[in-house]
């Protein structure tokens, strides 16, 4: 009879395990919907895009292998979170001297141009990927997404969200300082 009574604790224990898991999920910030970044640690995908600036040459591999780390940012003028991260990109380019490469994703060139004119253009080179062909090669799932490519052309960071000040301070700048 005693062993039977212990069995009554089983549902309670199950509940405790489930509650523990859910609580841990809440606290740890675990996000099952997060795609993750398979590209980190691998060589950067191919960069090939027509320039958004009339008269400038198309963007190519050379930009990723200049011997300096670069930040590649995918954006679009129709994307509100891109608007939010724009001041940070400006700051990275102007204050921290980071080389930024922009790619307007699924965005008409004239619209992307007008957007950059209005908000300021932080990019050393900026191209566009109208049909999203190149973006699949970069594992893009939306905009904005930002990649930090080191001097050897290897992806070091991949943000599938607008970058925040704490990303810049805690992750981007330390890596850039360590690399250069």
């Amino acid at each position: 009879m005693r062993s039977n009574r212990a069995l009554y604790l089983l549902p309670l224990m199950t509940l405790a395990i489930v509650a523990g898991f859910l609580g841990w999920s809440l606290v740890s910030g675990r996000d099952p919907a997060s795609i993750g970044s398979a590209l980190v640690g691998r060589p950067a995908p191919r960069l090939a895009a027509p320039s958004l600036r009339p008269g400038e040459p198309a963007l190519g591999e050379a930009l990723l292998h200049s011997g300096k780390p670069v930040l590649v940012n995918f954006f679009a003028s129709w994307c509100t979170p891109c608007l939010a991260e724009q001041p940070l990109l400006e700051r990275l380019a102007k204050k921290d001297g980071v080389t930024l490469i922009g790619i307007a994703w699924k965005n008409k060139p004239e619209e992307a141009r007008a957007w950059l004119q209005r908000l300021g253009d932080p990019f050393a080179a900026v191209g566009y990927d109208l049909d999203g062909k190149m973006a699949v090669d970069w594992g893009l799932s939306g905009v904005p997404e930002t990649f930090l490519i080191d001097a050897q052309g290897v992806v070091r960071l991949h943000f599938r969200a607008p970058i925040l000040e704490k990303d810049v301070e805690d992750r981007i700048l330390p890596l850039l300082k360590a690399g250069s």
């Binding site: 910030g29 996000d31 398979a38 590209l39 699949v136 090669d137 594992g139 799932s141 939306g142 599938r160």
Partner: protein, 200 residues
């Protein structure tokens, strides 16, 4: 990725996920309406045809609309069939449990196109899947691969089932033992023997 920023940033991230929200996903989905069958049915003198045709039309209209647009398809039917099979295994990265083949999202369309381009370039099915996994991780596979990180996922459910079955078996054995009558005492046995002893 530990992000718990300001309350409104969640709303901001919503539209980031795909161009879908901004552009209306439904536009891509060709509306397939079965038509033409009904008119002919009424003219038919055969009674069976009369109700068969509308039924067929109804059934056809129930068939889900294809996310794959005719313009996307490859002219080579064998390659196209392989592309369809592969894109059914790929998970749309901005949807909830929807394959790239089923999803009208723009990113899903881009991935379908990339799959076809790789196939035309001569990739095997395995290579195409590997190409996508290299970019989107295992997340992009609807069938997660069996490896160290996923063994609990694959074996967990059968394990729990086995444990439950074992528990039930043990319990039923115990119950059977508990229900069996206790053995007779010596006095009882003697009485029983006396009762069943044949009288001479």
């Amino acid at each position: 990725m530990n992000r718990t920023p300001s309350p409104n940033s969640k709303a901001e991230r919503g539209p980031r996920l795909s161009a879908k929200a901004e552009r209306g996903p439904r536009v891509e989905r060709p509306l397939r309406r079965a038509s033409g069958g009904e008119g002919r049915a009424h003219r038919g003198s055969d009674g069976r045809v009369r109700w068969c045709a509308p039924l067929l039309a109804l059934l056809l209209s129930i068939a889900p609309a294809l996310a794959v647009e005719p313009a996307e398809m490859l002219s080579d039917p064998a390659l196209e069939a392989r592309a369809r099979t592969i894109s059914r295994e790929l998970r749309c990265v901005v949807c909830q449990n929807e394959s790239v083949d089923d999803s009208p999202a723009e990113v899903a369309r881009d991935i379908r196109r990339a799959v076809r381009e790789r196939l035309v370039a001569g990739d095997t099915d395995r290579q195409v899947l590997d190409y996508m996994v290299a970019r989107y991780g295992d997340y992009v596979l609807l069938n997660p691969p069996f490896k160290a990180r996923t063994w609990a996922l694959w074996l967990g459910a059968p394990l729990v089932l086995l444990l439950g079955a074992a528990g039930l078996w043990v319990a039923s054995r115990r119950r059977a033992a508990a229900l069996a009558p206790p053995p007779l005492s010596e006095a009882e046995q003697a009485r029983l023997d006396a009762l069943i002893k044949p009288r001479d």
